[in-house]
């Protein structure tokens, strides 16, 4: 066991724990955006930074290992200042309107004022073609953003990179940490860095197998079921009216847990619980998107049973 001090309180943690683990142990969760239990830490968002005595800079709590004798502050002036500015940077450059409600809470809590960098720049159409080391000149009259048009290139899900905070989670989920498909990666450099397929080809031309694991980990709604996107466009997405039913995927014997999100008797999206032993939140195309047949069977209350069975046999 290792003893560390967090905000004056002594905490005992097992070796191999991060500072974030230690904070959580005493009920002091820290804001995180790029961290997920099921993915290896990339420590890039920097909202989780804490002050470590003896360190010149702040350290990311999500990845910094606890060492005996460490003295940590999670709410010092320096910590609050950095978190505030980082949140302002994100909110001024990215559309966070569909990010989890905790993000809005943090913006309030740290008194972030993203609009102090000036009015937001108009969307641009060239983010996927920008060349490293050669950005457009700025006059400084507007604050640059990642605003761009949404990518809709397949029937299953959409990519709205105006909402992308570049947390690398989708890349990790598509690659080494879950799916091993490597259909998407970070391309470009600096403010022009972006998530992309090779040469920005459409998803159907890429290696994507539509497991939807990237959607499952995206914290900002940049990646979204097409069904959800279309309902939202039509202003018909109403989470309050939805039910979530847990079931087990019937396609194979692995036993993945599925959460079916249902609105008006239709399945609009499928997720898997992140703490589930089998899936860690990850699925394959069948579990994630293979639900249409259930709906094509028809409503059991109104459709004659022979017809339901006939439709089921076709699948």
């Amino acid at each position: 066991m290792i003893d560390i001090t967090i905000d004056g309180e002594v905490v005992q943690v097992v070796s191999g724990s991060t500072l974030l683990d230690a904070c959580r142990l005493i009920g002091k969760d820290q804001p995180t955006l790029c961290y997920l239990e099921t993915l290896s830490p990339v420590n890039v968002c920097r909202v989780c930074v804490v002050e470590l005595e003896g360190s010149r800079t702040l350290v990311p709590s999500c990845s910094r290992m606890a060492e005996s004798g460490m003295v940590v502050q999670t709410d010092s002036e320096r910590v609050r200042h950095s978190r505030k500015v980082v949140l302002e940077f994100l909110a001024s450059s990215v559309d966070l309107s569909l990010a989890g409600s905790e993000v809005r809470d943090w913006l309030d809590q740290y008194e972030a004022r993203p609009d102090r960098f000036g009015p937001r720049a108009a969307p641009t159409g060239d983010r996927d073609r920008r060349h490293a080391g050669h950005h457009h000149r700025t006059t400084g009259s507007v604050a640059e953003t990642v605003q761009q048009s949404i990518k809709i290139d397949n029937p299953l899900y959409v990519r709205d990179y105006s909402r992308c905070i570049l947390c690398y989670k989708c890349v990790e989920a598509c690659g080494e940490d879950a799916q091993n498909t490597f259909a998407i990666a970070v391309a470009g450099r600096g403010f022009d860095a972006r998530i992309s397929t090779e040469f920005d080809v459409a998803l159907p031309e890429s290696a994507c197998v539509y497991c939807g694991n990237c959607i499952g980990v995206c914290p900002t709604g940049a990646l979204m079921f097409r069904s959800e996107h279309e309902l939202r466009q039509a202003e018909m997405w109403e989470e309050e009216r939805q039910t979530v039913t847990r079931t087990i995927c019937s396609y194979c014997g692995v036993g993945c847990n599925l959460d079916l999100h249902v609105q008006d008797n239709r399945i609009e999206k499928v997720t898997s619980p992140q703490d589930h032993d089998v899936t860690s939140g990850h699925l394959c195309i069948k579990g994630r998107f293979g639900y249409e047949y259930v709906q094509e069977l028809g409503d059991l209350a109104t459709t004659p049973i022979d017809e339901v069975l006939a439709r089921a046999r076709q699948h």
């Binding site: 420590n43 920097r46 950095s82 980082v86 060349h131 080391g133 600096g190 403010f191 860095a193 290696a207």
Partner: protein, 574 residues
């Protein structure tokens, strides 16, 4: 993505990926005996070869490289688009990269750009590391060697774009220890290097033994010249303590605006770079050394490549060097236009075939470095001191300079001085002394960029600063990589500060939020300064970028702007 390579592309790729590295198994190419990860390090060299031979990297070429190296195309695309010298769009075969960075832009660089007008084969470039001979242009040529035009005119560039070649003029240098042979010997001749005392230090190191070499280096007080001023002996000792295999890396990325000392050493005395690395490899027990050199240094690259071949042919690299039983070889890796790849952990990722994104420390390179192994990484100039230490002893070396800043240092003088060049002086002389060596200031001094873009703008009141680590620290400035760029009253300082802000926005790797967005916000604030500057805003951004960024780029990017605000060159603070 289904694109296929052209026969020419296929031929280049076949040449750039050694036969032994791939075997066909059931129609799929796999690495001979190893897993796919182990050949990933060939990705950047393969992309660079296609860029250099064909002039751009097409979808077909990228696919072919990916098939051979088993790298996913999306990842290879992510790597290719990280580098400024690699184009993923078809481009004219001859491209001029015209330096419009701080030394060149107001000394002819901007004029070349406006004279040539808007054309696809003329691109702006950050500092090309020849600021003593402004303006500077790099000619990137498909199928032919690249070259650099110094003191260029728009006519020179127009001619070069029509196929003319021109020779690069060597820099002016003055110095008796590190620069002793530069300009005096034939950089292509191993025999001459040995006649001038070369390889005596390596022989002496073998006599002393590895542990004793480390002791001498510790005693010498040698500190890193790459910017961070870390004690070299301590670094080596830490690496030697770790389990093998270990690596030795020579950091020759030299992309800090205003810096050109490492280029001068590599071009003028390439064998000494190799001898120094061999001694460092021996002391740290490393089996292999890498030189990572920026892609904009074609002449230095060529000289080092020639020197490595000569050493390999003469038993000075390879197995059982000089009969000592020590095996060591050196490989050169060429950067492709990314300042951030000079940061040590970004450099490792770049060699390994990943995007040049710095890693969060700890762990430190001495434990987890190149290919995850213990690694000693040193700047070219740092290493160049090592043969001197071995021959004269650490104590004698330590007697030069001041007790806390030992030895001599190379300073890169540029801007408004009479004789720009590289000047070697004992640590402890003043800024004024060094400027006087360069013939003094042309015109009325307004400010000096000290230490590079990662350093600071300082005013005339600092002319009596002694150039030591301790004096610099006390004055709240940094000597960085030895940049002394002088500006007189004719210079538009706001324009220069704006260029520095643009540099950081261009060169941020983009990985972490404080730097990715912070560099853009700082540039915007500088751009809109008009008679007054939002000083308190920039202070706030600077604090967060210093505290929360991953690496030194984010830590320093706003500080240089703050220093300029302090000098009042951006107008009144508000």
């Amino acid at each position: 993505m289904a694109a296929e390579p052209t026969p020419a592309e296929r031929a280049v790729i076949t040449r750039s990926i050694p036969e032994s590295e791939t075997v066909e198994v059931l129609g799929r190419v796999v690495h001979g005996g190893h897993d796919a990860r182990q050949q990933r390090h060939l990705l950047l060299p393969a992309l660079a070869a296609v860029q250099s031979e064909i002039g751009w990297v097409s979808p077909g070429a990228l696919n072919e490289i990916c098939r051979r190296l088993l790298v996913p195309p999306a990842e290879a695309y992510g790597v290719a688009t990280f580098y400024a010298l690699i184009s993923i769009e078809e481009r004219p075969p001859l491209v001029a990269h015209v330096c419009d960075d701080i030394a060149c832009r107001q000394s002819g660089g901007n004029e070349i750009l406006s004279a040539l007008g808007d054309r696809l084969d003329v691109i702006t470039s950050p500092c090309l590391g020849q600021c003593d001979q402004c303006p500077v242009v790099l000619m990137q040529r498909a199928g032919q060697d690249d070259f650099v035009i110094t003191a260029a005119t728009s006519a020179d560039v127009a001619a070069a774009l029509n196929g003319a070649e021109s020779a690069t003029t060597p820099s002016h240098v003055e110095g008796g220890r590190l620069l002793k042979r530069v300009g005096q010997v034939d950089p292509g001749s191993l025999a001459q290097y040995r006649r001038e005392g070369g390889y005596q230090a390596l022989a002496r190191a073998f006599e002393l033994g590895a542990a004793a070499v480390i002791e001498e280096v510790k005693m010498s007080g040698l500190m890193g010249r790459g910017g961070a001023a870390f004690p070299t002996g301590i670094k080596w000792e830490a690496v030697a303590r770790e389990p093998a295999p270990r690596y030795l890396v020579c950091n020759a990325d030299e992309s800090e605006p205003g810096t050109f000392k490492d280029r001068v050493l590599m071009e003028g005395d390439p064998f000494s770079v190799l001898e120094s690395m061999t001694i460092a490899g021996f002391a740290t027990g490393s089996s292999r050394g890498y030189i990572y050199i920026r892609g904009e240094y074609p002449l230095a690259f060529h000289r080092l490549e020639t020197a490595i071949a000569a050493c390999q042919a003469n038993g000075l690299l390879g197995g059982d060097i000089l009969g000592s039983g020590f095996d060591f070889d050196i490989e050169i890796r060429k950067g492709q236009g990314a300042y951030i790849c000079g940061e040590e952990t970004a450099l490792f990722n770049s060699i390994e075939g990943f995007r040049g994104e710095p890693r969060q420390k700890p762990p430190f390179p001495v434990q987890v470095g190149l290919f995850g192994r213990p690694t000693a990484i040193n700047n070219v100039e740092t290493l160049a001191n090592v043969p001197l230490i071995v021959l004269e002893g650490g104590a004698a070396f330590g007697a030069i300079g001041t007790p806390d800043s030992t030895g001599t240092r190379l300073f890169c003088l540029s801007g408004d001085v009479v004789r720009p060049g590289v000047y070697e002086v004992a640590s402890g002389v003043t800024l004024r002394n060094v400027i006087d060596l360069a013939g003094g200031i042309e015109g009325d001094l307004t400010s000096i960029l000290l230490g590079g873009a990662a350093g600071s703008f300082i005013g005339p009141e600092h002319l009596d600063l002694r150039l030591t680590f301790e004096d610099a620290r006390a004055a709240g400035v940094s000597l960085g990589s030895g940049v002394i760029m002088v500006f007189n009253s004719t210079r538009d300082m706001k324009d220069l500060v704006r260029r520095v802000a643009r540099f950081f926005r261009d060169e941020s790797c983009g990985q972490c939020v404080p730097c990715r967005v912070g560099t853009a916000r700082v540039e915007e604030a500088v751009a809109r300064a008009n008679g007054s500057i939002e000083a308190s805003l920039i202070d706030e951004l600077d604090r967060a970028m210093k505290d929360a960024s991953i690496c030194g780029l984010g830590h320093t990017a706003a500080a240089v702007v703050r220093s300029a605000i302090g000098l009042g060159v951006l107008g009144e603070s508000r």
